[in-house]
Symmetry: C2
Subunit: 493 residues, 2 copies
């Protein structure tokens, strides 16, 4: 069945429905028949492959190597680190048996009670425990350190309310797990990876982020410090785009991982972990897209350019195709990915709408008059504007245009964020302002109690304590107690 | 703790122990604390990344795209295809609960009985069922076909006896799942992917393979025809290196996936699936390596060249390093991956043994006399021979040498296979010959009964019915009944 022109709900009408519509209609992902688990469709997966490939390059450039650890974690491992188990035990997939058999009473397949595992296995929600139980055997001396390992993997967290990409029971991610001889080195690593993430999300995904530290309430279960990058979506809600944890010696103590240092003294090993996930695709959609569909930064677009021939008679197509092929070759040589869509069962108008929906950054249209004039019609997805340019040196024009689009998409998101970021100085004002969305910069007394009260009363959380920008002390907007610096409050995904 | 020079068990002494020693000592993988699950260490994973990257390129070149389907399969899905469930239900990881809680009696964490799943979930042993339940929603018309999707994923099969890489409870693989409008197109796809695998394993992994068809006994559970590539290991045992299945309409029928063809007639969709796994790393090791360690074909070696400086006084090191850096730049420009090991805590002899163990194809050593003479000592891993050559144009010499090594490794494996492949014409002779290992080409009457009898009495199975080579009919060595062509018998991993 051919695809019909796909109408999206508009953002102003229902932002949440717009998001769901877009994920489905742009063929990015869909819900599977397994509760909370998604199917990532080829177009969505192609974006993930681009994210993976660039991050993997950055990880290797900073000295990391990839490895692979088991999917399953023995139940007892989870309990080793007290806060960690608290964070993950309540929502995990538990494997209890290793065989099915035919029901002797004829009701199809049943779990074979004789194949019960001695110890239940948890499908990894994150791999600190299985990895640190392994590192114990790898580390004896300072010469075995640092270990700088990353893993690309699937993880499972039994979330009750799920949403495609943003919160799914199973998701894909990378998790870095590093081991160090000193506290300073581990802290430096955690910060370095935060910067790698920030650089990637800003320059590759075109999403501005605030680098910060989580308040104790929002820290990773088992970490001493969680660094994060926080992004702002178009509906004024925040989205945590990546985290990097300084784990101190917590996991080394839980799994008894010690080393002998240069002075022949024994100590526990220092750790970090850091990760980003397919959630980034959710951030990508919500940060840039519009009522016509996806808006993709050229760096992440599976096709950066699409060429659509415009013709009345089939005879015209041959000449247009010849010109299109010339242009494609020029673009490919310039490192630009391009698709030629000469499908004659679809009208140009349908194709235009389809590629807008799919977020292809640049669309070139070539008609009979373009051939006469040696021109090409160029449409930008980000601004939805059109212009006609000479076909000579088209690859230079398109190259520069892609760079301009990348910059423009970032700037637009940056300007939006600036427009909804403001200082708020009283709790009364806060309660009014939080309803409007955006980042609220407020003084907070540093206590979990105050943070909890604000969360309960307004659904806003501290997204982070920013590492950069104004660090002037003040007084807490709720309690009037001293505050070290303004922190960012927002409602969040 | 510094690593000591690592002695391997020799192949002649104990082949199986040699393999286990090598996997561990070359830092490829190790057993985890989870029964049957391995940890793939960075060096082993780097080889897998090279396998992935080349296969992924080939899949895309042949029109396939990647996607991702859920890890979990509802229990009822497995039962939909009768042979499929028979093949997988007896060894699978079953998720029954989604929460742990503190034991009220104080015995740590227990499974929360209130968090029992309505329907158990199986950790995928292969994804035909979950994928065809999804394809049902994607396919209505012939215009939606073909679907050419591949997935890179982890899968779990609860094997009772496991061995690193060769047979593990969890392993990494790719699984292609394609949907077609006609039987002929599906069959062509299954054969095309068999050829992609054969081409990859022969030219990239330097392992000769026989392309063939499985006998019904050895067919994939749910397939109408299983195509395979069979390799021979140095101990004379066979190893199935990849399979490509023609699934007919079995899964389409099981999940009611129909389409309307060009003539407006409704029919079930035709299917294939095909996969290779981390098992290939086991094949790689067993096909080429020797008593000194790994032998890697240059195409798969994480480092193709290592440079070791030879010096007595630290002062000499600076001059050698300068020369080494020049050479490294030349090699890198020629697309050769190279590592310089100037670690001064290790002696050259230790390094030589270490890089032999790790299978680095070419080792360059540079000493004071080499500087004087503008020479480099070149050692080949495959032949363990050394020669001294001019440092001028070293990149051309090394490039050609790497090509020569790739060819030689393949030829050596090919010659070995030829030397242990022979025709056997009586069952008495067969019983003697099978003890010596190798491929035995024998006539077989085509019945499962005869195959089963031979397996029970000799532990040999039909590895495949070859697609190429001698296809002369004859009489079965066991029953004397007619045989269409000789088939390959061997004991297998």
């Amino acid at each position: 069945m051919g695809k019909e022109l796909k109408e999206l709900t508009s953002r102003s009408e229902n932002y949440s429905q717009w998001y769901n519509d877009l994920v489905i209609k742009a063929d990015l992902a869909e819900n599977s028949s397994v509760r909370g688990c998604m199917v990532i469709k080829p177009y969505g997966y192609a974006i993930w492959e681009k994210i993976q490939s660039e991050l993997d390059r950055k990880f290797k450039e900073t000295g990391h190597v990839n490895a692979y650890f088991p999917l399953f974690i023995p139940k007892s491992y989870l309990s080793r680190e007290a806060e960690h188990v608290e964070g993950f035990a309540k929502e995990c997939a538990v494997v209890t048996h290793h065989r099915l058999k035919s029901d002797p009473e004829g009701n199809g397949l049943i779990v074979d009670p004789e194949a019960k595992l001695e110890e239940e296995l948890i499908v990894r929600p994150t791999s600190e425990t299985i990895i640190w139980s392994t590192y114990k055997n790898w580390i004896q001396s300072y010469r075995d350190l640092p270990i700088l390992i990353n893993q690309w993997a699937n993880v499972v967290r039994w979330e009750m309310r799920t949403r495609l990409f943003l919160r799914t029971a199973e998701f894909l991610w990378q998790e870095g797990h590093t081991a160090h001889a000193t506290e300073a080195e581990a802290l430096e690593e955690a910060k370095k990876m935060l910067n790698v993430y920030a650089d990637f999300v800003e320059n590759f995904m075109a999403i501005p982020v605030v680098k910060g530290v989580k308040s104790p309430n929002e820290r990773f279960a088992g970490a001493l410090e969680t660094f994060c990058i926080e992004a702002l979506m178009q509906d004024g809600k925040a989205l945590q785009a990546g985290t990097s944890h300084f784990l101190g010696q917590n996991f080394a103590k839980a799994f008894d991982v010690t080393f002998v240092d240069k002075n022949n003294k024994q100590d526990y090993v220092w750790a970090t972990s850091w990760g980003v996930s397919t959630r980034l695709i959710g951030a990508l959609i919500m940060a840039h897209s519009d009522d016509n569909g996806l808006v993709l930064p050229p760096t992440l677009a599976p096709h950066q350019v699409v060429i659509v021939p415009i013709y009345k008679q089939p005879e015209q197509l041959a000449a247009i195709t010849e010109q299109a092929e010339k242009i494609m070759n020029l673009l490919k040589k310039a490192g630009i990915s391009v698709k030629y869509d000469d499908d004659d069962t679809k009208k140009p108008g349908w194709k235009f709408a389809e590629y807008e929906l799919k977020g292809v950054p640049v669309r070139l249209a070539i008609g009979a008059r373009d051939l006469e004039n040696n021109t090409v019609e160029v449409a930008r997805r980000d601004t939805l504007t059109k212009t006609t340019v000479s076909a000579d040196n088209i690859e230079i024009y398109v190259s520069e245009l892609l760079a301009e689009i990348q910059k423009n998409i970032y700037q637009k998101a940056f300007d939006f964020r600036t427009s909804v970021t403001r200082e708020v100085n009283s709790y009364e004002e806060f309660k009014v302002e939080i309803e409007k969305g955006g980042f609220l910069l407020c003084h907070w007394d540093g206590t979990p109690e105050t943070e909890e009260k604000i969360k309960e009363e307004t659904k806003a959380t501290i997204r982070c304590i920013p590492l950069e920008g104004d660090q002037t002390p003040g007084v807490c907007m709720v309690t009037g107690k001293p505050s070290k610096q303004r922190v960012i409050f927002a409602r969040a995904y």
